[in-house]
């Protein structure tokens, strides 16, 4: 039971606890949710939308760059081939078979064509039956008959032909360009082997990043140039062939499981060359091709989510702060409500009790007169029985005692409710308290109580109502003495000091009595609440103190520890506010 309770510190903490906590949590959730709805979601939506659009845009740009690149390569390759075939055509159509059949002439042509480095490796003249008529080149092919070769048939039909890569008689990958011409009704063929070193380097040496490559495939999907990663020349490629089409195609290709070493995704663009029908392929790993785009995307998303996170955190903090402010306000409002309720209670009880007291006074007056009449009549009675006289006197005195008791109650009630004008005067609180103590000393001594005054000598004279203050101190000191009923002796200390926080004085009246239970602390200022024995207290003393101190612009609080004592703390301003004085002079403002 050893519990310390202060009347003004009783706040909502111990009242609707769970309900309040739920309420605050609800507000918190609502605030956070609302902020998320109003700021985070739009932010994220806009961010994501921009990101998606930007990605699309960037992807298109990357694809476009692939198209441009492959177009460029195609032009280079086609130019290379067209140059050589045009030159052959020109020679074939501008010279006669007889002229070219002579070795020195053919050699002159060979040198003429090869004036540009890396052009052709050999040049041969072939008749309509596929026999070699003349040949300039590093191989000994004079006796070869080409009538059975695939390109011979093609060139005889088409007039000009560029072959795929093949091994041929010399057993190394090469390809030929052949053109036909005719003299004296007989077709003949001028055939050149393209310098495959030069041609392959043209394609194979192209470097696109770390993972990019360029290669050529024929219609059967055979490598016409070596690939860096996928296979050597003349090997069959794993590339999924498509029928010949015009235009450039760009697609994203998921890697086949067989090529486990490669990155999972690739960007592939391909285009068919005009002549020969070779497929030019440009490939790069998706990840590399899109590195910049992805970096930009990641940065945007990172900052987007970072700012969302910051907003969320800030929201939570602000909301928590706001909830705390609300809690504080609620606490203050609660306290105010309690005081208002206390004041209201006092006011209504005051009005009620004034009426009741008046009404009770009249019957009391009659009872007293009846008693007096009986006494008078008794005195006139000539020979009363002694037994009767004894009982009669006893009853009469008891009637008087009880009427006096009633009278005390009604007087207290009326004092409590009274609307008297306050008389504001200069009060020296120390000497004033000294007088009150002097007044109570005798009663205290008979109860074994010692007063222990401790006054701050620096307290200046103040303005207040002396007669009402006297009432307050008398009540409090009487209570302090009465609190020692269960104890043989004790002390009542009475301190004064200058208030640290406000402009006024503090008076502390502390006893070593039985204390007040925490549940009673709440009710102690309520009218008619008393813990004294029936007939001893009216339960109005502290109510009167409370309303007087309030009226004088002060404050009365208490702390109590069971079996150790109670301390009343009164704060009084040096002077009541002007408004208060005015109200007091009018005689109202009692229960404000």
């Amino acid at each position: 039971m050893l519990k310390k309770t202060a009347i003004n510190d009783i706040n909502l903490e111990e009242q609707p606890d769970d309900q309040r906590r739920l309420y605050y949590r609800k507000i918190f959730r609502k605030f956070v949710l609302l902020t998320i709805l109003c700021s985070l979601i739009p932010l994220l939506l806009v961010g994501w939308a921009i990101n998606i659009h930007y990605s699309d845009f960037a992807n298109t740009r990357v694809m476009k760059s692939f198209q441009t690149r492959i177009e460029h390569h195609r032009q280079v390759i086609e130019l290379f081939l067209r140059q050589r075939s045009s030159m052959l055509e020109l020679i074939a159509h501008s010279h006669t078979k007889q002229y070219l059949n002579q070795a020195e002439n053919l050699s002159k042509m060979f040198e003429l064509i090869n004036r540009e480095k890396g052009s052709i490796t050999d040049l041969g003249l072939i008749d309509e039956n596929g026999r070699h008529l003349a040949y300039i080149g590093p191989y000994d092919l004079m006796n070869c008959n080409y009538s059975k070769t695939f390109w011979f048939k093609e060139v005889m039909n088409q007039g000009i032909f560029i072959s795929d890569m093949f091994m041929g008689f010399r057993q190394e990958p090469h390809f030929v360009i052949a053109v036909t011409s005719s003299s004296q009704g007989k077709k003949w063929i001028l055939r050149a082997t393209v310098d495959s070193e030069a041609f392959r380097s043209l394609v194979e040496n192209v470097r696109i990043g770390k993972t990019g490559e360029v290669y050529l495939l024929n219609q059967q999907g055979i490598f016409q140039t070596s690939s860096r990663f996928e296979g050597r020349i003349m090997e069959k490629a794993a590339f999924e062939m498509e029928p010949v089409h015009s235009g450039i195609k760009v697609r994203i290709l998921d890697a086949q499981p067989a090529n486990g070493t490669r990155h999972p995704r690739q960007v592939v663009s391909h285009v068919w060359l005009d002549e020969p029908k070779w497929l030019l392929v440009v490939k790069q790993d998706y990840a590399e091709a899109f590195t910049d785009v992805n970096h930009a995307n990641y940065a945007v998303l990172f900052f987007l989510h970072l700012s969302a996170l910051i907003i969320l955190i800030v929201t939570v903090f602000i909301t928590r702060h706001m909830i705390n402010v609300i809690k504080q306000r609620d606490r203050e409002a609660d306290q105010l409500n309690r005081r208002l309720m206390q004041a209201g209670k006092l006011a209504s009880i005051g009005q009620l009790s004034a009426g009741v007291a008046h009404e009770i006074n009249n019957p009391l007056a009659i009872i007293l007169t009846e008693r007096q009449l009986l006494l008078d009549a008794g005195r006139l009675c000539p020979h009363p029985e002694p037994v009767f006289v004894e009982q009669f006197d006893d009853s009469m005195s008891q009637i008087d005692v009880q009427v006096q008791r009633c009278k005390r109650i009604t007087q207290n009630l009326l004092r409590f409710a009274r609307r008297t004008k306050s008389v504001i005067d200069t009060v020296n609180i120390n000497s004033f308290l000294g007088e009150v103590i002097e007044l109570m000393k005798r009663e205290a001594r008979s109860s074994g109580i010692k007063f222990m005054p401790d006054f701050d000598e620096n307290i200046p004279p103040m303005l207040s109502d002396p007669s009402q203050l006297q009432q307050v101190f008398l009540n409090l000191i009487t209570n302090a003495i009465d609190a020692h009923e269960q104890k043989p002796y004790g002390s009542v200390s009475i301190n004064t000091r200058i208030s640290g926080s406000r402009d006024g004085v503090e008076i502390l009246i502390a006893d070593t009595g039985s204390g007040i239970t925490p549940e009673n602390v709440d009710k102690i200022f309520d009218p008619f609440f008393t813990t004294k024995m029936v007939g001893k207290g009216t339960g109005l003393g502290l109510s009167i103190c409370y309303s007087i101190i309030k009226r004088l612009g002060g404050e009365i609080t208490l702390t109590s520890i069971i079996n150790e004592g109670t301390e009343f703390k009164i704060y009084l301003p040096y002077k009541p506010s002007a408004k208060l004085i005015e109200a007091m002079e009018k005689g109202d403002g009692e229960f404000d």
């Binding site: 007291a357 009659i366 007169t369 009326l414 409710a417």
Partner: protein, 171 residues
């Protein structure tokens, strides 16, 4: 010795009845009425030494009644009975010329003591007035006075004024 003539004014009939008896037992001559109006009426007809007046009454209240009594211009002293809460009104009453007040319920002895005080004061005032009149009488021998020893009144018969009851009482 005949006690003072007392007018008891209180709206509680039982109270006035009892109090009349108590005061009569103590040798006073008591008239009791139950309202302010009745009190004024009775006072216009009869002479009283002390009026014991309740402050809180329906109809004409104590203070108004007191003012009316004062308007009558008599030597009669007034004692007020009040509930504790209306001490302000009691003080107001003293300002208006009441002799004293008593808080209700009151002890008979207390009341008797106050009545005695009031009666004495009234007597002193009345005697002083009488002496002044006698002095005036001595100074103006031309006037003819008629004495009414029973009512302790002297009448100046020579003034040919038509005396109203009030004026009669004054003279």
């Amino acid at each position: 010795m005949i006690g003072a003539k007392i007018l008891l004014v209180d709206d509680e009939a039982v109270f006035t009845k009892n109090m009349s008896k108590l005061l009569a037992n103590r040798g006073y001559v008591v008239t009791a009425v139950n309202s302010g109006d009745a009190a004024i009426q009775v006072m216009e007809e009869k002479d009283f030494d002390v009026v014991v007046l309740d402050l809180k009454m329906p109809g004409m209240d104590g203070l108004t009644t007191l003012k009316e009594i004062k308007n009558l211009g008599l030597f009669t002293e007034t004692l007020l009975l009040t509930g504790h809460g209306s001490i302000d009104s009691a003080l107001e009453a003293i300002k208006l010329g009441a002799y004293d007040y008593l808080t209700k319920p009151c002890e008979i002895d207390e009341l008797v003591a106050k009545i005695e005080g009031a009666w004495e004061k009234k007597d002193v005032k009345a005697k002083k007035d009488m002496n002044e009149k006698i002095d005036r009488l001595v100074e103006s021998p031309g006037d003819v006075f008629k004495l009414f020893p029973k009512r302790k009144k002297i009448k100046n018969v020579s003034s040919r004024l038509f005396l109203t009851y009030h004026a009669f009482m004054l003279s």
